[in-house]
């Protein structure tokens, strides 16, 4: 782009015929025409840069917006919600004056291009969202999906992603307490790297992204602005990967966790001294996003002098400065008399801070460069009034055939020997195997408040040392279920995360989501997306857990092949006293094992159908949200009143997977009996939803049964914690050593 003469607003008005590279910046023709219409002239190069990044799919949600509205429209009444959708992250009241903010985001595309930095900066970005709400980050979680475990490229992507998450998160001092690792060939060219974070603050400390009060200063602080990540969001996340195009490596940002750690500390110190009026982190779309968001959410306008932005590379053009996604930067609005103190705190932490502009009493965002005005826009048109698409959607032609291919008709094990072999095969399969090789690369001790961490059902953090108040978080998603039925699949993801939180004894309060799908330009994908959102919004309404925010990642497809629709749902819960938490591990021999809920022959999308038959077809397990709610209430009451010593939710892999995990973690075996009315195969492998297995001390047996009976929850005694093997009476016995070898050797063998 030529900059002689400088492409000022004046120059643009005088040269209407200059051709701008709108298509290269990812804008469609009608979008460009809309910009010209808004401005009443052609945009300057700088304005075009801003609109192009802010109107990208990643930043504008232009394909998803019409569907996402349901989360607001169907939002259940909840006293817990302090800040809802639309801010950097939602905020939930957890009692005792504490508020918790949490969010999940995707960093999928960059993590495929450059696994280490892509994943690392994903952690960095979500953590800045949390700080921008005024909270101290207290934990991170990472739901991850990779291609086939034995594919050579998985060996490039997975270790890089894991090292990146560890390298960044460990250096920030944030315990990594949860997440998932799932393998499926559908993610081969499109791994899903989702990152979630939780932060804690007092109610009065909530901060919002808005620039108010004419004369207030706009302070940019953190790292210098460089040439990395330019157009990362607009170009990388908004187009399908295509072999024909040149490498996009330079569009991935490079993270510096040390800088981010300093940013956290100095931001929190500034909050503590009440120096900040409004704040926004610089993530996707960098300064374009921060300035337009702050200005459009506040009461006034904003004037920014781009020459004052500290640069890493003095040759950057103003357009590049506006688009740069250099990491570890934040933008704060500070009253003039507090600026000195704010800068002092930044200096204490060796963080560069510069006043780059001020809030005006107008309603325009004006940006200057070398004395010329290069941007003069209504910030709302940049930040909030991007294009909205009603993309066509249609139920895919193959959906009926897929659902008709019933997994319940697959050949089942016929002998005890076959049954035993399939159990071993299941617990050793990459998706069901222990992920210790991965999670041991994450610090889960730091901050000294971790009560539970993976492989527990939910991660749990103490937030008050005196009272024991704590929060729990679980993330779940099952792309196989969602492929079979996206409406039910999204509900099952919510149900599982909700159940996982309750299993540990915490009360589910609110939801964040990361919606990973293929190209919205494909009507079949758009149908999956619409169905998943409808399902999730309906289920959140029914369970009384509002969606507080989240993220949409589209274009997760390579060529014509989209990933399985993968809505990942995070549920946040609260527990009054973390001493009452319930772990997965069996605690004491002799305790009685109970199965809660109903078990039906449901194998569609199951781990068994994948591991034994490499099959995906039929219908996912039936959803019964009232049952989920009842189960959760029972689990929470039982934890609180000391009626259960361990509990594990049943999900992929069914009952046997859960029992084996509890046994291995506790170092204690189990003797199981097939209950009346069930066959051994269905008992072990069914993935019926709304179930959990609990260990009850004998002294609590009557009380626990009475509670379940009184509240109408089916409860079936299935065995006892005992010995050093897992035995199914009359069928097979597997020693813990044998099971441990099968369960723990798989991932190291694939990746080490």
């Amino acid at each position: 782009m030529s900059r002689t003469p400088l492409d000022t607003v004046e120059h643009a008005a005088a040269t209407p015929d200059v051709e701008l590279p709108w298509a290269e910046l990812g804008l469609k023709k009608d979008e460009y025409e809309r910009i010209v219409e808004i401005l009443g002239r052609r945009p300057t190069g700088a304005e075009l840069a801003m609109y192009s990044v802010m109107w990208s799919e990643h930043c504008s949600y232009k394909s998803s917006k019409v569907h996402l509205r349901q989360f607001g429209e169907k939002a259940p009444q909840s006293d817990a919600l302090l800040v809802g959708i639309g801010e950097n992250a939602g905020v939930v009241d957890v009692g005792q004056g504490y508020a918790v903010t949490f969010k999940v985001e995707s960093h999928n595309h960059p993590s495929y291009v450059e696994p280490y930095q892509g994943a690392a900066t994903g952690v960095g970005g979500i953590v800045r969202d949390i700080i921008a709400m005024g909270a101290r980050p207290v934990a991170v979680v990472d739901p991850l999906r990779f291609g086939a475990p034995d594919h050579p490229d998985t060996k490039r992507v997975l270790p890089g992603v894991v090292a990146g998450i560890g390298g960044y998160g460990n250096c920030l001092g944030l315990p990594n307490i949860g997440g998932e690792v799932v393998f499926d060939a559908c993610y081969q060219g499109n791994p899903l790297v989702n990152a979630g974070a939780i932060g804690v603050m007092r109610h009065e400390d909530i901060h919002l992204a808005k620039a108010s009060g004419a004369g207030n200063k706009v302070v940019l602080y953190g790292a210098r602005t460089g040439g990395d990540g330019i157009g990362g969001a607009s170009i990388l996340a908004s187009e399908t990967f295509d072999d024909a195009k040149p490498s996009k490596r330079p569009a991935v940002q490079v993270g510096d966790p040390f800088q981010e750690k300093l940013l956290i500390e100095c931001t929190l110190e500034a909050f503590e001294e009440k120096l900040v009026v409004g704040i926004q982190d610089l993530g996707a779309a960098g300064l374009s996003c921060a300035t337009s968001e702050l200005a459009s959410n506040g009461s006034g306008g904003m004037r920014v002098t781009l020459d004052d932005v500290p640069l890493r590379d003095s040759t950057l053009s103003p357009e590049e400065i506006l688009m740069s996604e250099s990491q570890e930067r934040m933008c704060a609005v500070v009253e003039p008399e507090k600026v000195d103190r704010f800068l002092e705190i930044c200096e204490k932490w060796d963080v560069i801070a510069t006043v780059i502009g001020e809030v005006t009493d107008g309603d325009r965002l004006e940006i200057y460069w070398h004395g010329g005005k290069i941007v003069d826009v209504d910030p709302r048109t940049v930040a909030h009034e991007g294009p909205v698409y009603e993309r066509p959607y249609a139920r895919p032609s193959w959906q009926d055939e897929l659902q008709a291919d019933d997994a319940n008709k697959l050949p089942r094990p016929e002998t005890s020997e076959e049954l035993k072999d399939q159990v071993l095969k299941l617990v050793a399969s990459p998706n069901q195997a222990s992920k210790k090789w991965i999670t041991s690369q994450y610090d889960h001790f730091v901050q000294g408040n971790t009560v539970l961490a993976q492989p527990e059902d939910s991660g749990m953090i103490r937030i008050d040392e005196e009272t024991g108040l704590g929060v729990a978080i679980a993330t779940d998603g099952n792309g196989r279920y969602a492929k079979l039925d996206p409406y039910a699949g999204a509900q099952l993801a919510l149900a599982e995360a909700y159940r996982n939180v309750a299993t540990t004894g915490a009360k589910p309060l609110a939801v964040s989501d990361c919606l990973n799908f293929g190209s919205p330009e494909d009507p079949a994908v758009m149908w999956q997306f619409a169905e998943a959102i409808r399902g999730l919004a309906d289920a959140c309404q029914q369970l009384g857990t509002p969606v507080t925010g989240g993220n949409v990642s589209l274009y997760n497809q390579t060529g014509e092949v989209a990933i399985h629709p993968t809505p990942v749902v995070a549920v946040l819960g609260v527990i009054d006293d973390v001493a009452r938490r319930t772990p997965v591990a069996f605690q004491e021999e002799g305790q009685l094992l109970y199965l809660l809920g109903d078990t039906r022959a449901e194998f569609g999308g199951s781990a068994w159908s994948q591991v034994v038959h490499d099959h995906l077809g039929g219908l996912p397990p039936a959803v019964d949200l009232e049952r989920e709610r009842l189960l959760a209430e029972i689990l929470i009451s039982a934890s609180r009143d000391g009626m259960i010593d361990s509990a594990h939710d049943l999900s992929d892999g069914g009952l046997i997977q859960a029992v084996v995990e509890s046994a291995l973690l506790g170092g204690k075996g189990a003797r199981l009996v097939v209950p009346d009315g069930l066959d051994a195969f269905t008992f072990l492998f069914s993935e019926s939803a709304g179930r959990a297995v609990v260990a009850v001390p004998r002294s609590e047996e009557v009380r626990f049964n009475d509670m379940c009976g009184a509240r109408g929850l089916p409860v079936t005694r299935i065995g006892v914690v005992d010995g050093d093997s897992v035995e199914l009476q009359g069928e097979f016995t597997l020693s813990l050593d044998e099971l441990r070898e099968a369960h723990e050797a798989t991932i190291p063998a694939l990746l080490a």
Binding site: N170, G173, D256, P257, D443, V446
Partner: protein, 234 residues
Amino acid sequence: MTARIGVVTFPGSLDDRDTQRAVRLAGAEPVALWHKDKDLKQVDAVVLCGGFSYGDYLRAGAIARFSPVMDTVIEQAKAGLPVLGICNGFQILTEAHLLPGGMLGNDHLHFICRDQKLRVENAETAWTSDYESGQEIHIPLKNMDGRYVADQYTLDKLEAEGLVAFRYLARGDAADGYGNPNGSLNDIAGITNEAGNVVGLMPHPEHAVEPLIGSGRTDGLPFFTSILKKLVNA
């Protein structure tokens, strides 16, 4: 009168709050110390905590060792001030030559976080007197650069003079927290100086001080009760 134990915060320190909590739980008074400040605020002992001081750039601990606070720590440690270095703190102590040897990257090239089994080899230092010699304990370990190395002369001296304070328990199954986690020479997890006032180790005792939290064990608390008893009885 209780003891005042300083905990230094460098840019990039991570376990400073945790260490202060451990000091408090042991019954001592934690005092926050700042890397740019030479003043140790008349504390009775100092802990250099874990983290990634200065991002571990250049080499773990290499930059922190030159910060103003370290001038005073080095001077007073030589005069007998009890100093404990945990993880990054241990790395800083070796960079400062208060303890011999140094740390390289883990032999498997990964960050490792697990509850580690150790044996207390020297229960006579300022920081270990509440343990029994030979006692086996579980202490969380989490690091990238934890492989202790030293030349043969130094190793021989450490062994001959009983200056190895903690050793990774090398028997059994590594999955259970046994085994040398990083390739440290002689399975060394921590060492002491001859005077017994300066101790450094890679595992994190401050993460094992409450029954519910972290590893769920309290095997790390004796570090902090040892020093408290020593100071109060002095």
